[in-house]
C-alpha cells in the first residue's frame, strides 16, 4: 500500500472520528447541547485531531527515514572491491536504486513475475534490455552484485512499507479510540482543541526557523570544507578571480567579485534612492487621493516584474542605448553592452518601488499633527516635508534604503545578463564586471566535480553574501526600531 492510500485512509478515519465524536458527546448529555462543556463540533475536532496528527507525524518521519536506513544497510552489502571512495559508492547506489525501481516497474507491467525477479541471472538474461523495455535506461551492464543489492533493496523496501502501514494505522486507531473514550459531556474539548491549534502554530513557526538554521549550517559546513582545500587568506584578500586554472596556480580571490557587487549596488541605489524617495514624497504629500489610488499600485507593478525580464531589458534596451552614447561611436568609454552601468541602472529601476513603497508607508506614519503644526507656523509644503516630515521619517527611510541595498547585493539575474562575466577590479563604470551572485551561478551550473574547490567556493561566496545582507538587515531593523517612537 502506498503512502498516498495510507493518507487517504487516516483522513477518512479522522472524518469518521469527527462525526462519531460529535455524536457521542451529544448523546452523553441526552441530546441537550447546553449541558456540554464545549460546542459539539469541538468534540468532533478533538477526535479527528488525535486520530490524524500523531499518525501523520509517524508517517512523515517514516517516509523520510526509511530510504536513508535502507540505503545505508544495502550499501553495506556492496563488496568493498567495487569502489574506492564515497563518490563511487554513491554512483553504485544510484544504479542499484534505478535497477530496483526498474524491477518494480517491470513487475507492475507484467513483463516479469515476482518469481522471475528472484530467479533472474545477469549472466544468462539481458537485464539491461528488459529494463529498457519498461522505460528504465541503465548506463552499463548490470553485474550480479548490483542485482543482488537491488533485490535486497526491493525486499527491504517492501517490508518497510508493510511495517509503516501497520504502525501508522495502529497509531491512528489508538488516537481515535483514546479520544473517543475521553469524549463525554464534562470533557473540556474546547481547551484541548485550542492547545492543539497552538501546537500547530508553534510547529509552523519552528519549521520555518529550523529551515533557516539548516540552510545556514549547510553553508557553514561547506564553507569550512572549502577552506580546508583553499587558504582562507587567499580567498578573502586575493585580487584575482580565475577559477579555470587547474592545480595549484588557481586564483579564487573574492575581492574583484565583492567590488563588482558593491559597485553595481551603489549605482543601483544612486538611481533608486532619489527617484523612489521623491516618488514617495509626491505620492504621500502632494498627490490627490485619486492620483494616489492609481499611481501607487502602478508603481508597485514594477516590483512584480520578474528579475529575468529586467535582465532582458538591460541586455536589449539599456545596454545598446548606453553603447550608443558612451561606446566607440560616442565617448569611447564603453566596450560592450554589458557593464556596471547597465546592470546598475536597471537594478535601480527594479528597486524604485521597494524604496518608494516602504518610504511612503513611513512618511504616512508621520502624524498629521506634525504637518499641521508646521503649516500653522506659515511653512510651505516643501519646507514642511524637508524640515519636519523627512527628519521624523528619516530612521524608517534609512531602514528602507538598507533593505533595498541588501536586495541589490543579492540580485542575480540582472547582473548575469547586464554586467558581464569578467571579474575585474576597475573604477570605470562602463567596464563589464561581475558579482558574487553571478559567480555562484557560473560555478555551480558547470559540470565540475562537486567536491572540488571550484564548486565549493560557491558556498564560501554564498556565506559572504549571507553575512553581508544579514548585517545590513540587522542594521536596518536596529535603526528602524531605535528611532521608531521618536515622534510619539
Amino acid at each position: 500500500m502506498s503512502a498516498l492510500w495510507l493518507l487517504i485512509i487516516i483522513l477518512a478515519l479522522a472524518a469518521t472520528g469527527f462525526i462519531l465524536g460529535r455524536g457521542r458527546a451529544v448523546a452523553s448529555v441526552g441530546g441537550d447541547r447546553r449541558k456540554l462543556h464545549s460546542l459539539p463540533n469541538y468534540y468532533g475536532f478533538n477526535v479527528a485531531m488525535l486520530a490524524l496528527v500523531p499518525a501523520l507525524l509517524v508517517l512523515a518521519v517514516w517516509v523520510v527515514i526509511q530510504p536513508i536506513m535502507i540505503n545505508a544497510n544495502v550499501s553495506g552489502h556492496i563488496p568493498d572491491a567495487l569502489y574506492s571512495d564515497a563518490g563511487q559508492l554513491n554512483l553504485i547506489m544510484s544504479d542499484v536504486n534505478r535497477v530496483a525501481d526498474g524491477l518494480g516497474d517491470a513487475l507492475r507491467q507484467g513483463v516479469i513475475t515476482a518469481e522471475g525477479i528472484h530467479t533472474l541471472d545477469p549472466e544468462t538474461s539481458d537485464l539491461r534490455a528488459l529494463l529498457g523495455s519498461v522505460g528504465v535506461a541503465i548506463g552499463s551492464d548490470i553485474s550480479a552484485d548490483i542485482l543482488t543489492a537491488a533485490r535486497l533493496l526491493r525486499d527491504q523496501s517492501t517490508t518497510g512499507q508493510r511495517a509503516m502501514t501497520f504502525v501508522v494505522l495502529v497509531v491512528a486507531s489508538l488516537g481515535f479510540l483514546a479520544a473517543m473514550r475521553m469524549t463525554s459531556g464534562t470533557f473540556r474539548a474546547r481547551n484541548t482543541v485550542e492547545y492543539g491549534v497552538k501546537l500547530l502554530l508553534i510547529g509552523a513557526a519552528s519549521l520555518a526557523i529550523l529551515t533557516t538554521v539548516g540552510i545556514v549550517l549547510s553553508l557553514i559546513f561547506n564553507t569550512i570544507s572549502f577552506f580546508g582545500m583553499f587558504p582562507a587568506a587567499d580567498f578573502l584578500f586575493g585580487t584575482t578571480w580565475s577559477p579555470e586554472g587547474r592545480g595549484g596556480s588557481e586564483h579564487l580571490g573574492i575581492l574583484p567579485l565583492l567590488w563588482g557587487t558593491l559597485y553595481i549596488s551603489f549605482v543601483a541605489l544612486l538611481v533608486a534612492v532619489p527617484i523612489g524617495l521623491f516618488a514617495a514624497i509626491y505620492l504621500s504629500e502632494y498627490a490627490s487621493r485619486t492620483t494616489r489610488a492609481f499611481a501607487k499600485p502602478l508603481l508597485e507593478v514594477l516590483a512584480g516584474i520578474p528579475t529575468i525580464v529586467y535582465g532582458l531589458f538591460a541586455l536589449t534596451v539599456v545596454g545598446p542605448l548606453l553603447v550608443n552614447v558612451f561606446g566607440a561611436d560616442g565617448l569611447g568609454w564603453m566596450q560592450g553592452a554589458r557593464s556596471v552601468m547597465t546592470a546598475g541602472l536597471v537594478m535601480g529601476i527594479m528597486l524604485i518601488p521597494f524604496v518608494s513603497s516602504l518610504s511612503d508607508d513611513i512618511i504616512n506614519a508621520v502624524p498629521q499633527a506634525m504637518r499641521d503644526g508646521s503649516y500653522g507656523l506659515g511653512a510651505t509644503q516643501s519646507e514642511t516635508v524637508r524640515q519636519v516630515v523627512l527628519p521624523a521619517a528619516l530612521p524608517g527611510i534609512a531602514g528602507a534604503v538598507l533593505l533595498a541595498a541588501s536586495r541589490a547585493i543579492g540580485e542575480t539575474m540582472i547582473v548575469v545578463m547586464g554586467a558581464g562575466a569578467a571579474a575585474r577590479l576597475d573604477l570605470n563604470p562602463f567596464e563589464a564586471m561581475t558579482t558574487v551572485t553571478a559567480k555562484i551561478v557560473s560555478q555551480l551550473t558547470g559540470d565540475s566535480d562537486f567536491a572540488s574547490p571550484e564548486a565549493l567556493v560557491a558556498f564560501a561566496l554564498g556565506m559572504t553574501l549571507f553575512v553581508l545582507t544579514l548585517g545590513l538587515n540587522i542594521l536596518a531593523l536596529y535603526i528602524v526600531r531605535k528611532y521608531r517612537e521618536q515622534y510619539e
Binding site: 490627490s288 487621493r289 502624524p367 499633527a369 506634525m370 504637518r371 499641521d372 503644526g373 508646521s374 503649516y375 500653522g376 507656523l377 506659515g378 511653512a379 510651505t380 519646507e383 524640515q387 519636519v388 527628519p391 521624523a392 521618536q486 515622534y487 510619539e488
Partner: protein, 265 residues
Amino acid sequence: MNDMTKIEKVAAMQDIKITASGVQVHYGDNHAIKDVSVNIQDKTVTAFIGPSGCGKSTFLRCLNRMNDTIDICRVSGEILLDGEDIYDKRVDPVQLRAKVGMVFQKPNPFPKSIYDNIAYGPRIHGLSRNKAELDDIVEKSLRRGAIWDEVKDRLHAPGTGLSGGQQQRLCIARAIATEPEVLLMDEPCSALDPIATAQVEELIDELRQSYCVVIVTHSMQQAARVSQKTAFFHLGNLVEYGDTDKIFTNPEDKRTESYITGRIG
C-alpha cells in the same frame, strides 16, 4: 449721551481685528458652517463654545486658511483680517499663517530640540539676521510662553521629551516666535491635566495684552475663566455672540441657555 455711544462704537470698530460675514463651509456634501458672521476684537480672548461637531474648530481653521490643506473642504463668504479679505486670490495662505498663528489640540512639538522647535518659524520667515538674534527670539518666545525657566538648561534636548503641559506651552511659544497678530487655539488644554491647564490658561490671559486670541474649548468653565467674548455654535450656526459675562449669566437664545446649563451638548 448719544455722542458718547457713537465715539465708543467707533473705538470698538477700530479695535476689530477679524470680520467674518456670511461664511459657509462645506466638507463634500456636509454643510459644516452655515452663514456665520462675527467680529473678533483685538487684544481680547474670544472663546468658541458648543457641542462636539458644531463647527467651532472648522470655523477657527477658516481664520488662517488651514482648511485649504483638506481637499474636500470648500469655504465661501468673506473673512477680513485688518480689513483685507484673506480669501482673496492675491493673499498667500503661507504668509497669512505666519500672521495668524495656531496652537493645536494635542501638543505637537517637532522631533527636534527645544531650541529648533522655537527657531523653526523665525528661520523659515527669515526673522533674524544672525545667530545672536535668533537666540534672542528663542529666549523671548520661551519667556512669553512661560516655559523659559523650565527649559533654559536643556534647550538642545528634544522637545518631545517634555511633559504634556510643557509641550503645549512650547507649542504656544513656537507660535509666538513668528510674531503673529492673531493666535488661534484649538482646544489647547483638552490633552492636559488640571495643573498644566491652569498654567496654560494663565498664559492665555497674559497673551491677551499683545495678541488677538481665539480659543475653541469644550469646557464652559474654561471659556468663562479666560475669555472676554464668547461665541456659541450649534449645528453649524452661530447661535449667540457677546460678552462672556452676559452669555453665561443672561443668554438671549434658548439653545445657549440649554447648553450652558448642561441640557444639550
